[in-house]
């Protein structure tokens, strides 16, 4: 009896230690967001593990029109809106195109190797094809626009929406569609009236998953946007100050704001995370 309890306690201790280690960076950014300037770096070797004088100054700083310490017009309102707009629209594009394609693949085995080509697409480093796209976009005057960026987001997350939705459609027995068609429904009718309603949960989860991916993008936004449509990650990377150097506080504040949607949605769709991350290869 003693030996079993001893093992259990040891296990729990290990879990606690690991969890603390993994939580620490998150703790660091949360506390940094509320630290006043003197507490950002350890002056004279003293580290502030917890803000002595917690303040909202950093948040004010990122929203002020002119960051007193920075040459860029500081307000982060625009990037936040941009991130939202672009992520939502990119998600919509990926979902609409993806749902139709997924249905075709699931029910009609359309496209042959298309699904695997999509997987291979995910394997390419985006940098490899982004330059011609950027040139194309520049030519079409689509750089630094919401539609230019959203479209790319739609394409880049298309593999996820297709594969994920395909697995959700596969879960719905195809006898149901066939029954509807036998009853006189058209092919597309069966899709909208029978399958889509049943796949509601899957659609919502896939959409949230794709949204998180779009929201988290950095490289593509870095290349395809300039001033008007920068997203949050790009804005964070640009917050520098000639006087102060790295603006820990404001960056942390903005970073914290950026963290909230993915963490929140991620916990919401916890059940489907494994399916999403493995393109449906593993369905719990």
């Amino acid at each position: 009896m003693d030996q079993k309890l001893y093992k259990k306690v040891l296990k729990l201790l290990l879990i606690i230690v690991v969890t603390v280690l993994f939580f620490f960076p998150i703790y660091w950014i949360v506390t940094m967001a509320f630290k006043p300037f003197p507490e950002w770096t350890a002056a004279g070797g003293k580290i502030y593990w917890f803000p002595n004088h917690p303040t909202l100054d950093n948040f004010r700083a990122i929203f002020s029109q002119k960051l007193e310490m920075s040459p860029i017009s500081g307000t982060a309102i625009r990037p936040i809106i941009n991130s939202l707009v672009v992520s939502v629209i990119g998600t919509c594009i990926a979902m609409v195109v993806g749902i139709f394609a997924a249905y075709g693949i699931s029910r009609y085995k359309a496209g042959g190797s298309l699904p695997f080509m999509l997987l291979q697409l995910r394997m390419f480093p985006p940098i490899a094809i982004i330059i011609p796209i950027m040139i194309m976009w520049a030519f079409l005057h689509m750089t630094d626009t919401w539609y230019g960026l959203s479209l790319i987001y739609g394409v880049v997350t298309l593999p996820f929406s297709v594969w994920l939705m395909k697995t959700f459609f596969d879960d719905i027995p195809h006898e149901l569609d066939e029954a509807a068609i036998v009853d006189g429904c058209s092919n597309i009718g069966a899709f909208f009236k029978v399958v889509m309603p049943l796949a509601k949960g899957g659609i919502a989860s896939t959409a949230l998953f794709v949204f998180i991916l779009n929201w988290s993008d950095f490289l593509i936004a870095l290349i395809l946007t300039d001033r008007k449509w920068t997203t949050i990650p790009v804005h964070i990377s640009k917050l520098q100050s000639a006087l102060v150097g790295a603006l820990y506080g404001p960056k942390a504040a903005l970073g914290l704001i950026a963290l909230i949607p993915p963490v929140f949605f991620g916990i919401l769709i916890q059940k489907y995370l494994v399916r999403g991350l493995t393109f449906g290869a593993i369905k719990k």
Partner: protein, 298 residues
């Protein structure tokens, strides 16, 4: 409308998108890579006229001999070879720890998943802060070693690489944990019990029954993690921008720098094609197990 046509119509939008936004730029990239064009020499975005600067395979020839390019490939390789197994190991240990219930399991589970959901660029920034000369890492090390530790992590060639690897391990071990845990929870208890009754010790059960049963999940987790690890960019850019010098340039960072700092577009196009070829070869091998599974269940 017959089935085949309907199916085709369903995938048509996706095909169109791929054609214009992937295939076409891909071909354009190959075209560019065969020229010596760059906006500095060719005047803005009039890339149709890039053929005026035709270079055949000179870009390829030069880039293969560029030590920076080769080092970037090598560094990326090193990063992947180190972080993926470490993440796998941590994920596996955690997954086994989470096999049985214990108080607060759900909360610990949620916390352990968080690193994965942090925006990678922001994660890069967090570790940028943490690895500062007077940051928390050095503070903790100082306490542990009873000696003032002030390593300038992000300014040393090797220490910067280590810092980047630690950041990646932090962010993606939960990924492996999540996937391996789902595999472990799906283990057929009967087979493990059968082995137990046949006299297998804990280690024998692990090696001879549990691991083989987990193989498919392990393979998938390694493939998908490896696939993403190769593209590493965001965290590196926010932590070191490839520096000091080029000490932490992964292949993506290399191409970004050469594309957007040095504006060597055709050069980068060639680099891109090479990388694409390498990855296509690897991915065709790596995706085989997944393809087989799909065909089996079909």
């Amino acid at each position: 409308m017959d089935a085949a046509r309907f199916g085709f119509l369903m995938i048509l939008p996706a095909l169109v998108m791929l054609l214009f936004i992937v295939i076409f730029p891909l071909l354009a990239s190959i075209y560019l890579s065969l020229t010596k064009w760059s906006p500095l020499t060719g005047g803005g975005t009039r890339w149709f006229q890039a053929y005026q600067f035709w270079g055949w395979l000179s870009n390829y020839w030069n880039i293969i001999r560029d030590p920076d390019f080769l080092m970037a490939l090598f560094r990326t390789f090193i990063i992947v070879i180190v972080v993926v197994p470490v993440e796998f190991f941590i994920g596996l240990v955690l997954a086994f720890l989470f096999r049985e219930n214990f108080p607060g399991k759900k909360i610990f589970h949620s916390i352990l998943l968080m690193p994965m959901m942090i925006v990678p660029a922001v994660a890069g920034f967090i570790f940028y802060m943490i690895f500062q000369g007077q940051g928390p890492i050095n503070a903790v090390l100082s306490k542990v070693f009873f000696h003032d530790v002030s390593i300038l992590w992000l300014q040393g060639n090797i220490s910067a690489m280590i810092a980047i690897m630690i950041a990646d391990i932090w962010q993606w071990s939960p990924f492996m944990f999540l996937i391996l845990l789902s595999g472990i929870m799906a283990l057929p208890e009967d087979q493990i019990n059968a082995a137990l009754i046949l006299g297998a010790s804990g280690w024998q059960r692990f090696r001879m029954v549990i691991l083989p049963l987990l193989k498919p999940v392990i393979v998938i987790s390694l493939i998908f993690r490896g696939m993403e690890a190769v593209k590493i960019f965001d965290s590196i850019w926010l932590m070191t921008a490839g520096g000091p010098g080029t000490a932490t340039e992964s292949i993506s960072v290399y191409m970004y720098k050469h594309g957007f700092k040095y504006l060597q577009w055709s050069w980068v196009a060639a680099g891109g094609v090479i990388v694409l070829i390498i990855i296509t070869l690897i991915s065709m091998q790596a995706l085989k197990p997944i393809k087989e599974r799909e065909e089996q269940s079909a």
